[in-house]
């Protein structure tokens, strides 16, 4: 039993360690704040919970069904990375140029479209991006096929995803404290830097996809 517990703990740590730097809740909090800047604190907390729930569901689906979905559409992981990296890069680019009166972002005010915004762009490219999805798909694709080890691996991956999403919730729900601490100018600076890093992450994911699909890069050593 202790061996199994140790195995699960290791699996949880592996999943969480693989996902946290990519989901990067702390770094995305300023961007979350920017995209929801017209909301009240209460609405933002609701939205943060919804984003965390969406993100968790998305990760779980990617872990268990990702492989089959990609297979069904004949899409490979590198192609997912190229397309998804493009989406992330364009979001980063838009946030970098965001002047604060973009009509598209004003729509977030109306609470009717709140739910729609909670999935795109807040959950899909921002929180659980193509990088996180491809990691989740890889995690799921490496599950053993025999029932018992499969169960343990699956459980630890789900717990890992849960940890990541709870962290995301806390980072996003308390994002306005960040605003109070940093002040308007400080937040603007942090936001632009995060947007630039998001753009770089998008380009990196695209490059990883290109690199993997042509398999021409020498092994890094």
């Amino acid at each position: 039993m202790t061996d199994e517990i140790r195995g699960i703990v290791q699996g949880v740590l592996l999943a969480a360690a693989a996902l946290i730097p990519i989901v990067n809740p702390l770094g995305m909090a300023p961007l979350f704040l920017t995209l929801t800047r017209d909301l009240t604190d209460a609405e933002r907390a609701v939205l943060a919970r919804r984003v965390a729930t969406n993100g968790f569901l998305l990760l779980v689906v990617a872990i268990f069904a990702g492989d089959y979905v990609l297979d069904f559409f004949g899409v490979t992981v590198p192609v997912l990375q190229i397309a998804g990296g493009l989406v992330v890069a364009s979001l980063g680019f838009r946030l970098l140029h965001d002047s604060g009166n973009d009509p598209e972002q004003r729509q977030v005010t109306s609470s009717a479209s709140l739910g729609a915004k909670a999935f795109y762009p807040l959950t899909l490219p921002l929180t659980v991006g193509p990088g996180a999805i491809s990691v989740a798909v890889t995690l799921g694709a490496n599950f053993p096929s025999t029932p018992q080890p499969f169960f343990y691996d699956a459980m630890s991956a789900v717990i890992g995803a849960l940890i990541v999403c709870v962290l995301t919730y806390f980072c996003f729900a308390f994002a306005e404290r960040l605003q109070r601490t940093l002040g308007a100018t400080g937040l603007a600076v942090v936001m632009r830097l995060s947007a630039f890093i998001l753009l770089c992450i998008g380009v990196q994911i695209m490059w990883n996809g290109l690199d993997a699909s042509f398999g021409i890069s020498r092994p890094r050593g």
Partner: protein, 250 residues
């Protein structure tokens, strides 16, 4: 470390002169590596264009703010840059590609903007101050090229506590020199503009916008080349021509 040839010189003096030489080398590396890329004199016309319509006071305030921001950004890249890249799994080439694209977009917009809707339909002072970081500091003054050089310099770790302290000191002083020159160039740019007259200023603006665009392409290309360099040692069966990297302009 003290060679026999220095027998007549006190040991402490030798150690000191060694440290001094190390300090000067580090200082030259920072200033010589980053200042030509930041190029305050070349960026000054762009600063003028982006702050078109602001009064003298706002501009002076902005020049000081941009200088302080540049100092913090370069120091941050020197000290934390390599770690940030590692945490997010980024490579320097990717930062160059992405940043070059941003710079291209900025140059393109400035080049093709109509004089009437020029970046400078007069903007109230407060929202001007908000622009001090983006776009004035980040892609314009301290461009991605400068950031990537700073990250590279910062990644060369010195050995020993003493050397690290010296390199840190050199980094602070070198960055201060760069920001001081940024401040001087931006502070006195309006005077030069007055001396040149309106028409010539417009010509200089368009030229600088075009140069910014070229610098953006250059940085993107350097990034693509360093990414593609990973391909250079591919096994022969996979030696396809390098794929066009995801350099995109909006």
């Amino acid at each position: 470390m003290a060679g026999t040839g220095y027998a007549s010189v006190p040991r402490a003096v030798i150690a000191f002169s060694d440290d001094l030489r190390y300090f000067l080398t580090a200082l030259l590396l920072v200033v010589g590596g980053i200042l030509p890329i930041v190029n305050p004199v070349g960026s000054a016309p762009m600063f003028l264009a982006m702050t078109h319509g602001a009064d003298e006071d706002t501009r002076a305030q902005l020049a000081a703010k941009v200088a302080v921001n540049s100092f913090l950004l370069i120091m941050g890249s020197l000290i934390f840059g390599a770690y940030v890249l590692k945490v997010f799994g980024l490579s320097v080439g990717v930062v160059q590609v992405a940043g070059g694209a941003v710079l291209c977009a900025l140059g393109w917009n400035l080049l093709s903007s109509e004089p009437s809707t020029n970046p400078g339909t007069p903007i109230p002072g407060e929202s001007m101050i908000m622009r001090a970081f983006y776009p004035l500091t980040l892609p314009l003054t301290v461009d991605p090229g400068a950031i990537s050089v700073a990250i590279t310099i910062g990644a060369n770790h010195a050995h020993g506590v003493e050397r690290v302290l010296i390199a840190f000191l050199a980094g602070i002083i070198g960055t201060a020199i760069i920001s001081a020159s940024v401040w001087l160039a931006y502070r006195y740019a309006p005077r030069v503009a007055q001396w040149l007259g309106h028409t010539r200023v417009m010509v200089v603006l368009r030229m600088s916008a075009f140069i910014v665009l070229c610098i953006g392409v250059e940085i993107t290309f350097n990034g693509v080349r360093s990414l593609a360099g990973e391909i250079a040692f591919a096994p022969p069966h996979a030696a396809q021509p390098a794929q066009p990297a995801p350099a995109k302009t909006p």
